[in-house]
């Protein structure tokens, strides 16, 4: 199968515009999570990573503007032509424009405007894509699933280039739901920490451009990916982590690497008690306990449909720069397995990494990125 290269990427987040600016903020230890007093979202203050500024364009919603900014940013740095029929756009989101329900009565017009495909088409047409976009909406694994779907489409030869973009915004709809679950942290979230008590919400967009074209050898590649299901509970993770572990093992198996070749893990790390414990067990079960691990949720919050893409881009940038990013908010290990949490910025040669995600509905996903592959 052809090799799939990462040829360009972009993050638009509260930490900045573009991958370089975002990575600079992460190495400086800056988090986008702030105490928010926003009556339109919640009667009581909450911690979240929210975009600055107002999004006033009339034609496009904030969700769509984030996608437009991130995709055009990624395309600017590449020679990929959206008008080429060999280029496919894949959009990842969980709730898209769900905030429209909060202010508009349900009608046939709202049903059409709020649909995820409407947003994907508007964004695609504005940027000149000729192929109808593919939309992935699979809870918190959406971003990784979009990368996996793009990779498989390119490997099959159906397309040559895939522009994979994910976005989600914070709304009263989403915040009230996680509050009703008592799953929102009372302080900035603390993945894998002993005192973690839930998630912080976040918003942003990420775009990763993949290609099998011959002009990109030497770029970092997508080496393998897999998804699966716990088959246990729709809103609670597996007690054993064995299902995520099986997905990790399949992704690493597909990459052709040995487990000892994995230099670090970018975990999902939502900072809920059960999720982080499940992930630690999965890491142990897969024999990866010695591998450095971080979660980026302490910087970005949980950006849902964007998370898998933003966090993958950061992981790939870590490989490019040989630089490990610490897991913000972590002080004392609070999971049953002795996982190795990255606690300071360090420069060290890095070749391959593993990115994982898990979500409601019991879904799990894992992707392996790497510089080289010597069979």
């Amino acid at each position: 199968m052809p090799e799939v290269y990462i040829v360009s990427d972009n993050i638009v987040s509260p930490l900045g515009s573009g991958t370089a600016e975002n990575f600079g903020q992460l190495t400086a230890g800056v988090s986008g999570i702030r105490r928010q007093v926003a009556p339109e979202f919640s009667d009581k203050p909450f911690y979240a990573s929210l975009m600055n500024g107002t999004f006033t364009a009339r034609l496009y919603t904030k969700f769509e503007q984030l996608l437009l900014m991130s995709i055009s940013g990624a395309l600017q740095n590449s020679r990929i032509d959206p008008g080429d029929p060999r280029t496919i756009l894949i959009i990842s989101t969980t709730k898209g424009n769900i905030q429209m329900l909060e202010t508009q009565a349900y009608s046939p017009e709202l049903k059409e405007r709020i649909s995820l495909m409407t947003s994907a088409r508007m964004v695609g047409e504005h940027l000149g894509f000729v192929q109808t976009p593919i939309v992935v909406s699979n809870a918190c694994i959406s971003g990784l699933l979009a990368i996996i779907t793009g990779t498989r489409l390119l490997q099959s030869g159906k397309y040559t280039h895939a522009v994979i973009a994910g976005a989600d915004i914070v709304s009263k709809f989403i915040l009230s739901g996680f509050q009703s679950f008592l799953a929102v942290s009372s302080e900035p979230c603390r993945p894998f920490d002993l005192n973690r008590d839930g998630i912080s919400l976040g918003e942003g967009a990420g775009t990763m451009v993949l290609s099998t074209a011959r002009e990109y050898p030497g770029r970092i590649r997508v080496l393998g990916g897999a998804t699966g299901n716990d088959a246990n509970h729709i809103s609670g993770p597996s007690r054993t982590g064995k299902e995520l572990s099986a997905v990790v093992d399949r992704a690493i198996g597909e990459s052709g690497l040995d487990k000892t070749d994995i230099d670090f893990i970018s975990a999902h790390g939502t900072a809920t008690p059960y999720n982080d414990e499940m992930e630690a067990r999965a890491i142990a079960h897969s024999g990866l306990l010695g591998v450095p691990v971080h979660s980026l949720k302490g910087y970005y919050g949980h950006t849902f449909g964007a998370a898998g893409i933003i966090e993958s881009i950061v992981a790939v940038e870590s490989l490019r720069r040989d630089c490990l990013i610490p897991s913000k908010g972590f002080v004392e290990l609070g999971v049953s397995q002795p996982i190795h949490i990255i606690d300071h910025v360090s420069r060290t040669p890095l070749h391959n990494c593993l990115k994982t995600a898990s979500g409601f509905g019991g879904c799990n996903a894992a992707v392996v990125f790497g510089k080289t592959f010597a069979p």
Binding site: K95, K111, S115, L116, A120, I141, G359
Partner: protein, 205 residues
């Protein structure tokens, strides 16, 4: 070559299994119809009553699809996947959840405000732990579903897969699920785009 070994289409208050009508019930709205189907087939799965309408629809279609001879024990749980799609995600339940936010937000409804929860319910019921994906398309996209499912089976990622469409909104619902396996069984036919398009359209003209 992969094989379409069973199909089940629930729509417009009719059910077709392997292209043969097995139930017709024009009384009541969609939730009442789904409750009547559950009772008619004497299913015993108390969690059904907790599900939202989308999950009930998909769960019933999967239950009927897998009746009569799906050799589940031949496969490892990791080798059976669920690949679904629809047009309006979880909008019906989103609307119902948002109504509760005005008084007391309901966590029991919030958990169903994602389209892939129905895939999770099917996975839990049948212990399917393989590949998952949920795609959004304005109408039934036989091409993408066929390509994605075939790719999973051809590349050894799955040995069997439930794929299809589960959509409900405005008191109308359609579930069209297909059981695809590497081995042909019974009246199985070659799995291709035209076959699933024909079976889907057969009851949705």
């Amino acid at each position: 070559m992969n094989y379409l070994n069973a199909s089940c289409v629930i729509s417009h208050q009719r059910i077709r299994k392997d292209e043969i009508m097995i139930l017709e019930n024009n009384e009541g709205d969609l939730p009442a119809f789904l409750g009547a189907v559950y009772a008619h087939f004497d299913f015993q799965y108390p969690k059904f009553y907790k599900m939202d309408t989308l999950s009930k629809l998909g769960w019933l279609a999967a239950e009927l699809l897998l009746q009569d001879g799906f050799p589940k024990s031949q496969y490892a749980p990791e080798n059976i996947g669920v690949i679904l799609s629809n047009a309006n995600a979880s909008l019906d339940t989103d609307l119902k959840y948002w109504e509760t936010v005005k008084t007391m937000p309901s966590p029991a409804l919030f958990v169903y405000t994602l389209p892939n929860i129905v895939a999770g319910e099917i996975a839990i019921r049948h212990q399917f732990k393989g590949e998952n994906a949920f795609f959004i398309s304005p109408t039934f996209d036989a091409g993408t579903l066929h390509w994605y499912t075939n790719d999973l089976l051809d590349n050894g990622r799955l040995a069997a897969c439930i794929c299809g469409w589960v959509e409900e909104l405005d008191n109308r619902g359609v579930a069209a699920l297909f059981l695809v396996e590497k081995e042909r069984r019974g009246a199985g036919i070659p799995f291709n785009e035209a076959a699933i398009q024909r079976i889907f359209a057969g009851d949705n003209e």
